[in-house]
């Protein structure tokens, strides 16, 4: 019953869309040269979109941002918000043959796999209809290098802007440091001595807060001029595997020292975010490596009791002479958008998406509408006072939520951060690694990564964990290196190398 209804509905929709398409074409012919024209047609079009809905700002049908977009473009969406397990929902939609016209894809790999089997539209084939997107890619060659398929096609529309929010960083309790006249450490030796002092002052504490398996090592590795996995060394222009390098060993030795002397929680590997937060909030940890945003978020948890509690940005400590005072910058978000090849109204949808990459589109997606979400005073824009902070703005207006933008002008949101955070955001970019290349792999390559790569990774993680916990002595390091190499590190490195060279050749071709 419901299937029939849906089919009928689709037929009706298709008829409607064809009409709007025709009128859209007519209009295009009339207004020639208007590449910045936002008018997509006189008729209103409703398309289907599937997107991720964040628990903190769940999708609401009456979000003003979608209203503004509709006013501007005539396109509105019937949204299917997905709260959890996006991959499964996405795969179900693809295999059921009932794909929404526009859908978020949660990895480049997923977009490429389904794209190459014909599920998604290749945007490069339609660049003539997407002048703003083309310009955006030309202006951001790093982005262009991170969205290609192994055949040099493009099924993945990148999101740009929010990745600046999810910066990793080192943080410290500046209130406690001030109280005891301590200075933030700049090297790992200083980190050790400072943590020691804090441990003496607070015997119950584990001064350095890290959590979740071996993930702390990811952000520590630039300080030792290495990497937690396979990486492209921009200095020597070669692919390397971090976890077998001598510098990596030095890092593991530091972690082992921190563990043995109780400077990190003994069960930090089993800790999840909750335990991590608790340590910081209960004055049981004073230095942390996490996302920069917790600087503003954690005090909110304490509410009125937060008076004393304060976190501030700490310049990343350095561990070896060649180490860099850097946090790992992950680069573009993993999420992007794809257009279903089965969409009934490809033309309108591509135009709509192109609009989102245009200066007007970026402005609209970032600010909303004058008089409704922001006002201009003395030539300076200000979000309405009712939006207390960035998260609040997203919850109330839908601005900067996934599905309501492709590119955001992040400078607009700076005023919503605390002054401390604004300061930190100014320093942070100077202490960040260059993002690693994001590569596209063929099916065969993915199989190597899945089989050999995962075996290597499991062995590496297990052994490193044992070194840190002292279950294995450091003099067994060489045996570990030998064994992990035997499992096929070189094989995986070759895959990365091949994929990287392929990617580079596509980029050079495009020039």
């Amino acid at each position: 019953m419901s299937i029939w209804n849906r089919k009928l509905g689709k037929a009706a929709l298709a008829a409607l869309l064809t009409g709007s398409l025709l009128s859209g074409c007519a209009k295009d012919g009339a207004g020639e040269g208007g590449s910045e024209s936002v008018d997509l047609g006189t008729k209103e079009v409703t398309l289907e979109m599937m997107t991720f809905s964040h628990t903190n700002w769940p999708y609401k049908e009456n979000w003003p941002i979608y209203k503004f977009l509709k006013e501007e473009t005539g396109v509105s969406f019937k949204v299917q918000p997905v709260m959890s397990d996006y991959t499964t929902t996405m795969n179900l939609a693809i295999s059921s043959g009932e794909m929404p016209d526009l859908m978020m894809v949660n990895s480049l790999n997923a977009a490429n796999t389904h794209g190459s089997s014909g599920a998604f539209v290749d945007f490069f084939e339609h660049l003539d209809k997407m002048p703003n997107y083309k310009k955006f890619l030309d202006d951001h060659s790093d982005v262009k290098g991170a969205i290609l398929s192994p055949e040099g096609k493009n099924y993945f529309l990148p999101l740009y802007g929010l990745e600046q929010q999810s910066r990793r960083s080192w943080l410290y309790r500046d209130d406690i440091f001030k109280k005891h006249d301590l200075t933030p450490p700049t090297t790992y030796d200083e980190l050790y001595t400072t943590a020691k002092k804090l441990k003496e002052l607070y015997p119950d504490s584990f001064p350095i807060a890290v959590f979740n398996g071996l993930s702390p090592l990811i952000n520590m590795s630039p300080g030792f001029n290495t990497h937690s996995s396979y990486y492209f060394d921009y200095d020597t222009e070669e692919w390397r595997y971090g976890p077998t390098e001598d510098n990596y060993k030095v890092m593991v030795e530091y972690m082992n020292k921190f563990y043995t002397e109780g400077l990190v929680a003994p069960d930090f590997m089993a800790h999840k975010r909750k335990q991590f937060n608790d340590l910081l909030l209960q004055n049981k940890a004073f230095i942390a490596s996490d996302y920069i945003g917790i600087m503003d978020e954690l005090p909110l948890v304490l509410g009125d009791n937060a008076s004393e509690f304060s976190l501030d940005y700490m310049v990343p400590p350095v561990g070896t002479p060649d180490g860099k005072s850097q946090n790992v910058f992950a680069g573009l978000q993993g999420d992007g958008f794809a257009v279903a090849s089965t969409t009934k109204d490809q033309e309108t949808l591509l135009k709509y998406l192109d609009f989102l990459y245009s200066p007007e589109g970026i402005e609209l997606a970032t600010w909303g509408k004058e008089g409704e979400t922001f006002t201009t005073e003395n030539g300076e824009r200000k979000f309405n006072a009712e939006y207390k902070e960035f998260g609040d703005l997203r919850t109330k207006t839908g601005i900067a939520t996934i599905g309501a933008h492709t590119v955001l002008d992040m400078t607009a949101f700076e005023s919503m951060y605390s002054p401390k955070m604004q300061e930190a955001m100014k320093i942070a970019p100077d202490h960040e690694t260059k993002a690693q290349p994001r590569l596209a792999f063929t099916n065969e390559e993915n199989e190597v990564l899945g089989m050999v790569g995962e075996t290597v990774k499991k062995y590496h993680e297990e052994q490193i964990a044992k070194f840190i916990l002292g279950q294995k002595k450091m003099d067994e390091w060489d045996a570990y290196v030998k064994e992990v190499n035997k499992l096929g590190v070189q094989q995986v490195l070759d895959v990365y190398k091949a994929a990287y060279e392929r990617n580079q050749s596509f980029l050079n071709e495009g020039k």
Partner: protein, 306 residues
């Protein structure tokens, strides 16, 4: 025995129509959700592509099975799964029987029901929460268990990063979760025992323990055997969630099982064919287990599922 012969098929359908209608929902359930999906197994033998679907994807034969048998992770993962399942059977299977016998001895019916309800409540707690509770209880810094250990003067144990503790933690939390739920079927079996047997035993001077041993246990033996056979079939079927949540890199040695491996290599990489091949493999092993257990049980005890 002549009546059925005279009745035609339609006649019998007509006679039993209400029974058949009652059977229908259940039969449909099995048909739609259990039998039809069996054809999906075919993706274990093809390079399954979500968009192309089952009909269009290319056949690859036993490629994914060979891949699984040849990975260095194969034996460790199989061994961990088997051992975890075996210990779960050894310790987890008798637990609800013992609890059921104990509950059966409680004479106050209010107390009996209270204990029953409280003991089966954990069954409804999500694994995520159970893992969270375990992490808190076992914490070497503020955890209850370690506080008790240090109270009696022993050294604290860093449970969650010691691979030797993983199975104990998993199985004891599993028993806690499911013991009450498991008693339900045994308590039902207990009510079926003829009270006259107990009366007769008491007349003969049997005490409580003797009654339990000679009447209660033999009375529920068929139920025990059937549950045991089913459980043996489930040895390799260990849910992914709780293992994944309780494992840390330091405990991979014992905590990496088939389902976590499938998740890592099959599902997160979108390789559904590989995941299906591995699942089919475990399914076949489970099938052998259950047939074997049933056969042995029929030979030894005379009671069996079929």
């Amino acid at each position: 025995m002549q009546a059925p012969k005279e009745m035609s098929f339609m006649g019998r359908v007509k006679r039993d129509r209400y029974l058949l209608i009652l059977l229908l929902p259940c039969a449909l359930y099995y048909l739609i959700f259990k039998y039809v999906p069996i054809f999906g197994i075919s993706i274990a033998f093809m390079d399954y592509n979500l968009f192309k679907g089952i009909t269009e994807s290319d056949w690859v034969g036993f490629k994914y099975f060979n891949m699984f048998f040849n990975t260095p992770d194969f034996w460790p993962v199989l061994r961990n799964t088997f051992l975890l399942g075996l210990y779960k059977l050894i310790f987890g299977f008798p637990a609800p029987i013992i609890l059921a016998l104990l509950i059966n001895e409680v004479s106050k019916s209010f107390l009996k029901r209270f204990v029953q309800t409280v003991s089966y409540l954990p069954h409804f707690i999500s694994n995520v929460v159970v893992a969270g509770i375990a992490v808190m209880f076992l914490s070497p810094t503020g955890g209850l268990i370690n506080q008790m250990i240090s109270a009696v003067g022993l050294d604290k144990i860093n449970f969650l990063v010691e691979s030797s503790w993983f199975r104990t933690i998993y199985i004891s939390s599993d028993i806690w979760q499911h013991i009450g739920w498991g008693t339900i079927i045994f308590l039902a079996a207990l009510t079926a025992i003829d009270p006259q047997l107990y009366e007769a035993a008491r007349m003969d001077g049997a005490n409580r323990w003797k009654q339990t041993l000679n009447i209660t246990l033999p009375g529920i033996a068929p139920a025990i055997v059937i549950i045991l056979i089913l459980d043996i079939g489930k040895i390799l079927e260990i849910g992914f969630e709780k293992v994944y949540l309780l494992a840390t890199p330091a405990t991979y040695e014992t905590a990496d099982i088939i389902s976590t491996y499938v998740y890592r290599v099959g599902l997160t990489q979108g390789n559904y064919s590989y995941a299906t091949a591995i699942d089919l493999f475990t399914g076949i092993i489970s099938f052998i287990f259950i047939i074997g257990a049933n056969y042995i049980s029929r030979r030894v005890s005379g009671s069996s599922i079929w």
